[in-house]
Structures are given as C-alpha cells and as structure tokens.
C-alpha cells in the first residue's frame, strides 16, 4: 500500500535497507524508493519532483526542526518532518567530490 512501484521497476523496491527519509542525518544523500500514496502532500511533492528513483540530498532543517529542505536535481523543495517519515529512501554514499561545495552539517 505504501509502494508506488509498478512491476516494471521492481529493481528499486526490495532493497533491504530502505528507511524513512526522516531517519537520515542532515547532509546525507539517498534515492527515493517509495512514498505513501495516501498523502495528498506527498502526491503533490511527487509531482514537484520527489518521485521514486530521484536522488536527493537532505540539506537543512528549519529552526523548529521541520520542515526539511531537500535538494533534487534542478530544485530544492521543503518537506515537513511528518511527510518525510512517509518517504522510504535508500541511503547512498556521499558524493565523490566532497569538496567545500558539499553542504556541511549544521
């Protein structure tokens, strides 16, 4: 019920280490595996680019810890903590060029 994967991209689902996005530390990279399709806000965020398969970087958290800012290829979106809990992601290794352009952890 929480997966939006159709059979033809089953390669993404089934990865054992998929975790909720909210559990990753700031600054980490991950690939979206699935979103909870019952959430109107997540469906909207999906249209705005947060679709399964997208590689994203968790950038920052607002002063009250929510929302988070998430960098996608092409844009940066805000996502509330409670929505981030309903996005399953697969953690990725940090970008190869860990130079100063990479966001530092606050």
């Amino acid at each position: 019920m929480t997966t939006t994967e159709t059979p033809d991209s089953a390669c993404l689902s089934g990865t054992p280490e998929a975790v909720p996005m909210s559990e990753l530390p700031l600054g980490s990279r991950c690939r979206v595996v699935a979103i909870d399709e019952n959430s109107e806000s997540l469906l909207r965020l999906m249209e705005m680019g947060l679709a399964p398969g997208t590689e994203v970087t968790l950038e920052r958290a607002a002063p009250l810890l929510s929302p988070l800012s998430v960098r996608l290829p092409g844009c940066t979106l805000a996502i509330r903590l409670e929505d981030a809990r309903r996005v399953l992601v697969q953690p990725l290794p940090p970008p190869p060029s860990a130079d100063e352009s990479a966001p530092s952890r606050p």
């Binding site: 033809d8 249209e47 805000a78």
Partner: protein, 745 residues
C-alpha cells in the same frame, strides 16, 4: 513513430489568434507575459470562479496582432484546485466563452528541465499545439546542465526556443516561431507520447474509459485517451471535485470501481511512471541535470536559514520594514502635504465663500489629500515585498514560519497573502486563490483583515502623535512612535493567528494543509518587475482613493453639515463680539479665543447634523471604551475606509485641510475635554484603546466587497464584520476599563 498532422477545429479562424502561456510556478511565465504584452494587458476573472485571468495583446513582426492569455501556474494538470481546473478547461476550450487557444507557449525552466517537462508531456498527451519557451538558459549553463535545444525539439516534436525572459533574450525568436506556426495545426511528431505508452497498470483503465467516452460521444477519438487519464487522476468527489459533465464523471467513477483504483492511486502510478518516461526522454534528447548546489544560494541559506540567525534576521527584516514605513516615507509625505496645501489655498482664492467652498475644501480636497499623502508608505511596503519576493527570500520566510503556521493549521501558502494584507487586505485576500483547500482558504480570508493594513497607518500616526511624545528616542535607534506602532503589529499578528487557530478547529474544521514550497536560488531582483508591480499598486490605490474614499469623505461632510434642525448662530456671534470688544487681552490670546469659539460653533453644527445624531445614538455603546460621540462619528465614517477616520475627525472638529500629521488637528484633539469632568479626552490610555479598536475592527467597505466576491455570498462577509466588531469592542473595553482599574488614564 510519427503521428498524423492533426487539424484542430477553431471557431474563430477569421479573428485574432489566441496564444496561451502555460508553465510551472516560478518558471518565468509572468516575466514572459509582461515581455510580450508590456502595458497592453488587462486583468479580469474567469466566469463563475475567482481565478484571475490575465490577458493582453502582442504584435508579431509581420504586423499581425495576437491575443495572449496567461494561465495559472501549475505543476500538473491533475485537477484538485480551481487553478488546475481552469488551466485544463482553457487549454481544451471547455470553458464557456473562451475558445481553445490556437497555440500554447509552455514556459520551461531549463535549469530544472525534467520537472518542468512533466507539465509539457501532459500537454502533449492532450494533443495541444505547443511551442516550448526554454527559459533560464543562463542559469542552466551556469549550473553545468547540458541542454540540447535541437534534440529536445526532435524528441518533443515541437519548436523549442532557448531564452532568458528576464533580459529579453530569445523573445524575437519566440515571436518568429509563433508567426511560423500554421493556424490551427499541430504536428505530433517526436518520441511517442506518454499516453501512447502507458504502464500496464494504467493502460487498461485508460483504454476502457476512452472507449466509453467515444461511444457515448463525450470525447473525440484523438483526445479520448488524454482526457481519460485526466479524469482518472482528478478528484471527482468531495470538496475539491472538478466540474465535468456528470456523464463523464459517472463513467470515470465506474471505471475506477471496475479496476479498484482510487484517484490517488492513479495519480501515484501516473506520476512515477511519467517521471520514468521523462528520464528516458531526457536521455534521448541528450539533456543532463547537475545535482550540484548553487554556491551562493547554499552559502546564503547557511546563514538565512540558520537555526539561530535565521529567525533573528527574519525579525530584524520585519522590524526594518515597519521602521521604514514609519519614518523613511516622511519627506515625500511632507512634499505631498505641501502640494495639497497649495491646492486648498487655490480653492480658497477661486471659489466664493459658502457651503460649496466648504464642501470642496473640507470634503474633497482634504479627503483626497489625506489619501494621497499616504501613497509613499504603500510604495515603501510594496517595494520591500516585491524585492523580497524577487530575490527569493519570501520562500525562506515561509520555510522558517511553516511549523508555526502548521501549528495554527494554516497553509504555508497562506503566509504570503497574510503578509500582503499588511499593505492592504484586498490584494491579500485575492492572493488566497493559490491556497488549495476551500476551508483553509476561507480561514485565511477571515483573518486577513486582522493583519494591520496600511490604511490603518494614518489612524495610528494621528493617534500616536496626539497622545504620545512620538519622537522621543528609545535605545538610540527607535522612537516611542515606532515602538507603539510595532506593538500594534504584534497585537494584530497575535490575534490573527489565534482567530485562525480557533476557526480552523471549530467552524472550518479540516485536516492540516500540505506544504508545497520550492526554495528557488537567490537572484538579483528584476527592476522591471518590481517597478511594474509598484506602478500597479500605486494606480490601484489612487483609483480607490479617487472613488470610494473621495465619495465617502464628501458624503460624510454632507452627513455632518446638513442640519436636521435650525441652529441658532447668534450666541456664537455674541461671544465673538464680546471677545472683540475686550481690550485687556493680547492679540494671540484673542486669536485663541476666536478659534475656540469657531470650534464650538462647528461642534454645534455637527452635533445638529445627521452624523452627529448617529454618533450620539452610538455613544452609550462606545462610552465603556472611553470614546465620545465625536469619535463615534469618526468610527461611523471609517466604515467606508479606515483612513477616512482622520478626515472624519478633521471635519467633526472643523480643521481645514488637516491630515494625520498636521499639528492643527493634533492640537485640536489634545484640547478636547471629556464632557462632564473637563479632563483631557485624549489620554494615552484612550489612545491605546482607540488603537486597539482600529487594529481589530473590520472597517473597510472594499474588503467586505472583495470577500463577498471571493466567497460568493453575503454569509462570510457579514460574519466577518460581526466577529471583528465584537473583537474590537472587547479589546478596547479590556484596555480602557483595565487601564482605569490599575489607575492609568
């Protein structure tokens, strides 16, 4: 795979061609629209709904004139809000009185290509003739993204024009492309459309519905599949139901039931499948996107969204805005005042003495003057709002504020309408159209007039200047006046948020709205869009001033000066003669005494008028707040518009051409005595009670009118007047009686 050239039926072949501009929010749609139409644009409404319709004209190089219409910005055509529904209906010519556009320019942000192609591919699915305006090419290149215009054009099967709309680059090429497009034709070349290679989970439902639609004559074979997918993803039930012919909705519901799919499920499948399709399309078109952070944006955000510095900078910015409204606009205001003074003098010389001259001077000139003088403040505020928006800070403010707003139960998108309401509730209420949920929107509309709009400023300035030593410096930087003003803003925000929380939990209970916020890269503001916006605001305000407020001031003058009974002027004449006859007093004293008599006479005239009687009628109600009948007259007058309170008080007290900062009106007010006790009326306590009343009361005909239009009936505007008036009375009562209890005033 090539698809046949399709001929679209257009009913207006003889008329001007209609070109619609579609695209994501922030893709540069409005910039392009402004560049194409310049000042030849007009803003209206779509029939029956409250979504703004911006249209204009544009000349092509050949001399042909085309009509251009700016569609509401959206990420997807799946309809869950009036904006998306309208975008869909206009594009397909399903809106009454609005034929389908001959051509759609879809504005695509090249620096965020894949996401922007989402809408483009939906447009292709519906068989709409397209030209892609590939905007923000400079940013895309800067970021190191590779965008091949030719290959993209081949893949999409339509013209792709690279451009930078901000600097006007590519506009000429775009116009030439529009010129080249044969009338009423569309080529559907390029790679297969998404609708023609659906994933298995969607193929059967879409095909079943499409066949059903064609069989019952509800759609033609060419668009049936596109329409079917749109019907399946759009909400057909509940509050947000789209307006489709009932037969179509019934068919769609049946197909959904047959395949056991909800609209949300279809949307989830469609969205992720379409993004996979777009990934392939990007690959075919040799386009790549760089996942690198924008260096400057990253560094700025590091500070501006910092856990500690972020909110501090936000508050400091807001304080700066308020302080600048209060003090920076002053020189210009003084100049306008001087100008109005000259006009009043001219009228004094030109017109013969009498009732008409008094009406012109005290009603017309004073009224318009009071409004014009207040233009600089509006411009300063809108300059700030426009700059912050253009630079990209507004989204950060929403980001910082979201948790607080969400706790109240408001949409993150409610922040901007509410912030705009600090200038004027009318554009603010109009801006609530971007809020998707009907109830969320209504809550925002209901509290927007509580935000301290700039029309209250003249009242604040007058009252603060009268009862406080406003220029006294506090902590070197701020003044008493500035701090009291800040206090009024804090009060307005606190009450606004509280009322929103109450409405959201009781009267308009609904689940918390989603946060849909993009944090754009910071960029230098565009001078053109900021000035165009300022010009618009100024024009709107002056038009409003010239009509409603002028009319209100003149009517008020009539109400206050047309006597209900004959007034005996002889006792004032006697008093004057006595003063003139007194030899023992000095010249200034004599002048003072004569002024006092004139004031009393004027008070007697007003007291004897319709307005005076109304004020007196109101006195028992407002006496617990410490207000006398003259303030009551001002309050009655200010139901037309808040700023009329100032000219209202000036008329009641017989001060010619006075405005909120003029010493004469302030002096007159300070001299006012409370009837009975003879103590000064305008104490700081009364001032604060009056300020609180004005923060909370709904005194603006234009706001009521706009709420009626936006909510489609009298129910909500009347409710708004009721609850705000009750709040205002209660607030002023607590301040005045509480203050008296603890021994103030």
């Amino acid at each position: 795979m090539n698809f046949p050239l399709r001929i679209r039926e257009t009913k207006r072949t003889a008329c001007r061609r209609l070109v619609a501009i579609a695209g994501n929010p922030n893709a540069g749609k409005t910039t392009l629209f402004n560049a194409l139409t310049g000042t030849r644009q007009k803003v209206g409404n779509y029939p029956g709904v409250t979504v703004e319709r911006k249209s204009g004209q544009c000349d092509l190089p050949s001399g042909e004139t085309i009509d251009v219409v700016d569609l509401p910005g959206c990420y997807s055509l799946a309809a869950r809000s009036p904006e998306e529904q309208i975008a869909h209906d206009v594009l397909l010519g399903e809106m009454d009185g609005h034929p389908a556009p001959d051509l759609v320019i879809v504005v695509v942000d090249a620096s965020n290509l894949q996401r922007n192609l989402f809408l483009t591919s939906q447009l292709r699915d519906l068989g709409i003739p397209l030209i892609v305006a590939l905007n923000m090419m400079d940013i895309a290149r800067e970021r190191g993204s590779e965008v091949s215009t030719e290959k993209l054009a081949d893949a999409l099967g339509c013209r792709v024009i690279p451009m930078v709309a901000r600097s006007g680059q590519g506009i000429k090429e775009l116009l030439a492309a529009v010129e080249d497009m044969p009338c009423g034709c569309c080529t559907c070349g390029g790679v297969p459309r998404f609708i023609d290679c659906l994933p298995s989970a969607l193929e059967n439902p879409v095909q079943t519905l499409a066949e059903g639609l064609v069989q019952s004559g509800l759609a033609d074979a060419l668009t049936a599949r596109g329409e079917s997918l749109w019907l399946l993803v759009s909400s057909l039930e509940g509050d947000e139901a789209v307006k489709t012919p009932p037969a179509m909705a019934a068919l769609a519901r049946r197909v959904r039931g047959e395949f056991k799919l909800s609209s949300k499920q279809v949307r989830a499948i469609e969205t992720s499948a379409r993004y996979r399709y777009l990934k392939d399309l990007m690959f075919l078109a040799a386009c790549t996107e760089q996942d690198l952070p924008h260096r400057l944006t990253d560094r700025l955000d590091h500070v501006l969204l910092h856990r500690l510095f972020g909110p501090v900078i936000f508050l400091a910015l807001m304080a700066l805005v308020f302080q600048s409204i209060f003090s920076w606009a002053a020189p210009v205001m003084n100049a306008i005042e001087a100008g109005v003074g000259l006009v009043a003098q001219g009228v004094d010389h030109l017109l013969p003495d009498g009732l008409f001259k008094e009406m012109v001077m005290q009603g017309a000139v004073a009224g318009v003057g009071n409004v014009l003088v207040f233009l600089p403040q509006i411009l300063v505020l809108f300059l700030f709002i426009g700059l912050l928006e253009d630079v990209g800070y507004m989204a950060r403010a929403a980001f910082l504020m979201d948790r607080l707003m969400a706790r109240v139960g408001l949409d993150g998108r409610a922040f901007l309408p509410l912030l705009s309401s600090f200038a004027c509730a009318i554009p603010g209420i109009m801006a609530t159209r971007t809020i998707a949920g009907k109830k969320d929107r209504l809550v925002t509309i209901l509290v927007a007039p509580l935000m301290s709009c700039s029309a209250r400023l003249p009242v604040y300035t007058l009252v603060i200047g009268t009862v406080f030593a406003a220029e006294t410096t506090v902590a070197g930087l701020f003044t008493v006046g500035g701090l009291v003003l800040m206090g009024m803003y804090v009060l307005s925000i606190t009450v606004g948020i509280t009322m929103a929380a109450i409405f959201k939990r009781t009267l308009l209970k609904s689940p918390p709205p989603p946060l849909l916020l993009e944090l754009p890269t910071y960029k230098l503001p565009s001078l053109k869009s900021v000035t165009l916006n300022l010009y618009d605001r100024a024009r709107l305000f002056i038009l409003r001033a010239g009509t409603i407020i002028l009319a209100a001031t003149v009517i008020l003058w009539g109400v206050l000066h047309v006597p209900l009974a004959r007034l005996d002027h002889s006792r004032f004449e006697d008093a004057r003669r006595q003063v003139a006859a007194k030899a023992s007093i000095s010249e200034p004293e004599r002048g003072g005494a004569l002024r006092a008599i004139a004031g009393e006479e004027n008070a007697a005239v007003v007291e004897n008028s319709l307005g005076g009687h109304l004020g007196k009628l109101l006195e028992p109600v407002i006496a617990p707040l410490g207000f006398d009948w003259k303030i009551g007259v001002g309050i009655i007058a200010s139901f037309a518009a808040r700023e009329v309170f100032v000219s209202g008080l000036a008329v009641v007290h017989g001060v010619d051409g006075a405005d909120k900062t003029s010493p004469s009106l302030r002096e007159t007010l300070r001299r006012e005595k409370r009837a009975g006790t003879g103590e000064p009326l305008y104490t700081p306590l009364l001032g604060v009670a009056l300020l609180v009343f004005f923060v909370l009361a709904c005194q603006c005909m234009s706001t009521v009118a706009i709420v009626r239009r936006e909510t489609g009936g009298w129910r909500w505007p009347l409710f708004m007047i009721g609850y705000m008036t009750a709040l205002a009375w209660l607030g002023a009562f607590v301040v005045y009686q509480g203050g008296k209890l603890v021994g103030l005033g």
